[in-house]
């Protein structure tokens, strides 16, 4: 086959790729900011004693978890603005989509975490005189969040990878920039290899960091 690899051509366009990487991080960051509070809220609604409210939460999580991300992106970019009469730029559409979808997954993560705490903890807090909000804040969530860290991180890596789908609506994230670089340099192999490595390295390093942090801040149980 004797293909001659030439990464130099790709690195001459590293400015574009860096810009794309920045776009990727911006998108992921915004989606996280939406997803975490939303996930907690939906989890609490899901655990509500009112059946109507918990059903609404179930419908929300099920709809967003059974829809392919890319379909949701198209929907929020092409259909939703027409329906409500607003104009979304690609960043808004994609970060909203991924935020809403990750929020649905996060809701399940939060719910699992909260439900994994033994009822005795709620009772002990209640017996001290704490109300539900205070119990959640000081007793339940601090324990739940520690247990959630691995699943939580899995969700974040899934989100980080899903940002690549923003390329389908031409948002300038790293894959979109890569296809531009690739068509300018005629070097798809090197370009897509670099992008693949970018994702691999970021996620791999982050996972080591999380593992270290988990170990470092572990509480004996």
């Amino acid at each position: 086959m004797g293909y001659e690899w030439d990464f130099a051509a790709v690195f001459r366009h590293s400015g574009l790729l860096l810009e794309g990487a920045l776009g990727t991080f911006r998108l992921a960051g915004m989606a996280i900011l939406i997803a975490i509070p939303l996930g907690l809220l939906v989890a609490l609604l899901r655990l509500s004693r009112l059946p109507v409210i918990s059903w609404l939460a179930v419908i929300y999580t099920d709809v967003f978890r059974t829809s392919p991300s890319i379909v949701l992106i198209y929907w929020f970019f092409f259909a939703f603005p027409l329906l409500v009469g607003v104009d979304f730029d690609t960043f808004t559409a994609v970060s909203l989509t991924l935020g809403l979808q990750t929020g649905a997954y996060m809701a399940e993560v939060f719910r699992g975490g909260i439900q994994s705490i033994r009822p005795g903890q709620w009772q002990a807090a209640k017996a001290l005189g704490m109300g539900p909000a205070m119990t959640l804040r000081y007793i339940i969530l601090p324990q739940a969040v520690r247990r959630m860290i691995p699943v939580f991180f899995t969700r974040l890596t899934e989100l980080f990878k899903a940002t690549s789908l923003a390329a389908v609506v031409s948002y300038a994230e790293v894959v979109q920039m890569a296809s531009r670089v690739s068509s300018e340099t005629f070097r798809p192999i090197e370009t897509y290899t670099v992008v693949a490595l970018f994702f691999f390295v970021v996620i791999f390093l982050a996972s080591r960091l999380v593992r270290y942090a988990e170990h470092r801040f572990a509480v004996p149980e």
Binding site: R118, A124, L128, I139, V219
Partner: protein, 264 residues
């Protein structure tokens, strides 16, 4: 002596199960009352109704002269507000069978959280209070440890300190030694006994007849959701008047005749 707790005609049902059938009970300041009864007699439920971890279906509970809740149109049925119940629970300490310490906090953190968050105490003041109470149950040296590093007996003493730090007007003990290995029971009973001797008002559900005999001012025997027999420990434990009480005492092999001087 003034009355700390009065329970009048208390009923509790779980679906078709009528667990408490009109309990009347009064505990005076400084008094230690032990509730005995076979499993299923409703003794834990009674205790949990006193601080409303279970909601009674019917009946009136008065704590320190104040009636809890408001009467409704249905006779005997009361309505309660959450704020009122939380305030009540802060004044009534409870110790559980399973300790239920907060595993993500240190021992002193467990004792400090209530005073800080519910009584608005500063961290420094709460720490001083926590240390005082940990000393009271003899476990101050573990203040910086996490609960998981402690034995069951030590954990239970921390749970007692946690409840005491709220400076409650009375303490409830729900089979506080039942989950402990036999060799760890003594240290917890000793802490409870000291507390009783300091004049704490206590309502204690236990199977430790020795504790009942040596520490209680009064013993109540519960059977079928009703007060079956009550009196001084000597009366109830040594000279029970009713058949079911006698059966119960016979089946409790743990009961040893008291030695003079009455050590635990």
């Amino acid at each position: 002596m003034s009355e700390v707790l009065r329970v009048e005609n208390l009923h509790k049902r779980f679906g078709p199960l009528h667990v408490l059938r009109g309990i009347n009970l009064s505990v005076k300041k400084g008094e230690t009352v032990v509730i005995l009864g076979a499993s299923g007699s409703g003794k834990s439920t009674l205790l949990r109704c006193v601080n409303f971890l279970e909601m009674p279906n019917e009946g009136r509970i008065t704590v320190e002269g104040k009636l809890v809740g408001r009467a409704t149109t249905k006779p005997g049925v009361m309505a309660y507000s959450n704020a009122e119940l939380n305030a009540l629970r802060a004044r009534v300490g409870m110790v559980f069978q399973q300790f239920n310490l907060f595993p993500h906090m240190t021992v002193e953190g467990n004792v400090m959280i209530g005073p800080m968050k519910l009584r608005g105490m500063s961290a420094d003041a709460a720490r001083t209070l926590a240390h005082d109470n940990l000393r009271r149950v003899g476990i101050l040296e573990k203040a910086r440890e996490y609960p998981a590093r402690l034995s069951g007996g030590q954990q239970q003493r921390v749970a007692i300190a946690r409840a005491l730090a709220m400076e409650p007007s009375m303490m409830l003990f729900d089979e506080a030694t039942s989950a402990l290995d036999p060799e760890l029971v003594g240290e917890v009973l000793l802490s409870m006994r000291r507390l009783a001797e300091e004049g704490m008002t206590m309502l204690v559900v236990t199977h430790e007849l020795g504790f009942a005999y040596n520490v209680a001012h009064r013993v109540i025997f519960l059977e079928g959701g009703e007060v079956h027999e009550q009196g001084t420990p000597q009366q109830v434990l040594l000279n029970p008047q009713r058949e079911r009480t006698r059966d119960f005492l016979r089946s409790h092999t743990l009961f040893r005749l008291p030695e003079p001087g009455g050590g635990l």
